[in-house]
């Protein structure tokens, strides 16, 4: 996934998370930086970050080939997550407390199996998820927490 968002310098690299990733509930959307670190452990991944005006994006590169980006606002809250990879990430973790809303919206779709490109939009939560085995891509964000001056098109 190409970083075509803000032109920010890469400032930090954390490598070598233990492959034994502890399984515990982490927060994802709505969570904090500690939850980002825990996500990286769970995905068996390395982290890097870029500091942009008004937000920080943490990129987790998992050994499965999955890439997850978590966007934190200036209050340290994750307001967007984006993913691309051969399998889907665990949405219960990535969407945190918003997972139930996502699941309810998806269950209400007609022909959920044929919606290769799913978009669920509410004032509180937007989820765009698509793809097939070997290549999934998508994102989820909290519209109310997008920092001023930041476009949703940056959140990929």
């Amino acid at each position: 996934m190409i970083d075509r968002t803000c032109k920010c310098a890469l400032i930090l690299l954390i490598a070598g998370i233990s492959p034994l990733g502890l399984h515990r509930a982490y927060a994802g959307l709505g969570g904090d930086y500690a939850s980002v670190v825990a996500d990286a452990a769970d995905l068996h991944g390395t982290e890097s970050s870029a500091d942009c005006p008004h937000y920080t994006v943490w990129k987790i590169t998992a050994d499965t080939g999955m890439l997850v980006r978590e966007f934190l606002n200036e209050d340290g809250v994750v307001f967007a997550v984006a993913w691309t990879g051969p399998v889907l990430p665990d949405f219960r973790h990535l969407m945190g407390a918003r997972f139930a809303d996502y699941a309810a919206a998806v269950a209400a779709l007609r022909n959920p199996g044929l919606q290769r490109s799913v978009r669920l939009a509410s004032p509180d939560l937007v989820v765009e998820s698509e793809g097939h085995l070997r290549a999934y891509v998508g994102r989820a964000y909290l519209p109310g927490l997008i920092p001023p001056g930041v476009s949703s098109s940056d959140l990929r």
């Binding site: 492959p19 068996h44 050994d63 499965t64 080939g65 051969p86 399998v87 889907l88 665990d90 949405f91 219960r92 997972f99 139930a100 699941a103 309810a104 998806v106 269950a107 779709l109 007609r110 022909n111 959920p112 199996g113 044929l114 919606q115 290769r116 490109s117 799913v118 978009r119 939009a121 937007v126 765009e128 998820s129 698509e130 793809g131 097939h132 085995l133 070997r134 290549a135 999934y136 891509v137 990929r156």
Partner: protein, 398 residues
């Protein structure tokens, strides 16, 4: 065409001509209609009928309304549909005696259920002891792990796909492939489940993975050809019938055209690339009979806010003409411009099952050529590493 035929049959002259194995019937009716009994109302769903038998026994059943899906690989059948016809297939077990089960994500849900072997026949082609997935709608097997189908997103029943099963004939021979064979951390796709129902993700050898049935035929096993006619009424036909043909360039009925064909090589994900309406952004693209519409992002097109087609595009001025350029990847850099129209689905014929101008996918970062693209075309799907004429898969051609 004639030259091809004589080449196949060994030419003329003295001496013994090579013995050509008997060619089997390799065409299957492909029907777009409103769906199976108990789950109708389908739009742009293309179905086939196939035969499934318990291996080594005379217990067989004909299963209708199996969804044709070029966007996935593998045969998946709803357990309650099989049971209704007295077909019971046992789960495969792994080296530790655990039942092998699988979780696969499709759009808005996951299929969950055991891998089982079945003898499957489509037209005159057959695959014995083919690994398939039982979509476990009755949960007769292990319950899914928490990661699969959480909070009601399992789509194992007939209503999930408006079908009695899914026939995945995409451009690979197995549904997961190498990435599920020896990953350091096994992917959450295949699981070993104990008798107590505890499941953990595990690696699975290629030969044991859910397989593209076509890849396992004795012949005509390098891909498929799909042909659907143009709709009589783009605004809605009650049903449409075309053909699913097994093999590419293996029989008289699946010969590759010498001219006028665009062949788009696919990458290791099964995608080629596309650009939409002159935009420079390269989108991963797929030709997907399991998608009911063209799907792509165009923020200038209004989205239907209400009604049966909520979420699809409702262009203010209909039909709206757009175009997309599909390009092959890898060593193949062929490209083709496809123009198509989008119309407001609320103007479609009520209760019809086939619409030519249906599109959606706002927010997508890919381009999906769904069933509307198939109307009026012959499309070839070449399987990874299989040779078809002068081409080698994976590829899409039209």
């Amino acid at each position: 065409m004639l030259a091809l035929l004589s080449a196949c049959f060994g030419g003329n002259g003295t001496g013994t001509a090579p013995v050509k194995p008997t060619q089997v019937l390799n065409t299957l009716a492909l029907t777009v209609d409103s769906g199976p009994a108990g789950a109708s109302g389908a739009v742009n769903h293309a179905y086939v009928t196939l035969m499934v038998c318990v291996p080594g026994q005379a217990q067989c059943a004909s299963i209708d309304h199996v969804l044709l899906d070029t966007g996935s690989e593998g045969l998946r059948l709803v357990r309650s549909v099989l049971s209704a016809q007295s077909i019971t297939l046992s789960a495969q077990t792994d080296g530790q005696g655990r039942a092998i089960e699988e979780c696969v994500s499709f759009g808005g849900g996951q299929t969950w259920g055991p891998v089982a072997l079945a003898d499957v026949t489509l037209a005159g082609e057959s695959a014995a002891k083919l690994p398939i997935q039982i979509m476990d709608d009755t949960l007769a097997g292990a319950p899914p792990p928490a990661t699969c189908g959480a909070n009601g997103t399992l789509i194992d029943g007939v209503s999930g796909f408006n079908a009695n099963g899914v026939l995945g004939v995409g451009v690979f021979a197995q549904d997961c492939g190498a990435m599920c064979v020896n990953a350091a951390a096994p992917l959450p796709v295949y699981y070993g489940c104990t008798a107590a129902g505890a499941c953990s993700a595990e690696n699975i050898a290629l030969a044991d993975q859910v397989a593209n049935p076509v890849a396992m035929f004795a012949a005509d096993n390098n891909g498929v050809v799909i042909r659907l006619p143009n709709l009589q009424n783009a605004n809605g036909d009650a049903s449409v019938t075309g053909e699913l043909i097994f093999g590419i360039n293996t029989q008289a009925d699946n010969a590759l055209p010498v001219t006028g064909l665009t062949v788009l090589g696919a990458d290791a994900h099964g995608d080629f690339t596309a650009t939409y309406n002159g935009n420079t952004t390269l989108l991963p693209a797929i030709i997907d009979s399991g998608a009911d519409a063209f799907a792509f992002d165009d923020p200038t097109i209004a989205v239907c806010a209400t009604g049966a087609f909520i979420g699809y595009y409702c262009p203010a001025i209909a039909p709206k003409s757009v175009y997309v350029i599909g390009s092959g990847v890898g060593v193949n850099n062929a490209s083709s411009t496809v123009s198509f129209a989008i119309a407001d689905p609320n103007t479609f014929v009520a209760n019809a099952a086939a619409f030519a101008d249906l599109a959606g996918g706002g927010g997508s970062s890919a381009f999906t050529f769904g069933v509307p693209f198939f109307y009026g075309r012959t499309i070839y799907f070449g399987i990874d590493q299989r040779v078809a004429g002068i081409y080698t898969g994976p590829f899409y051609a039209f």
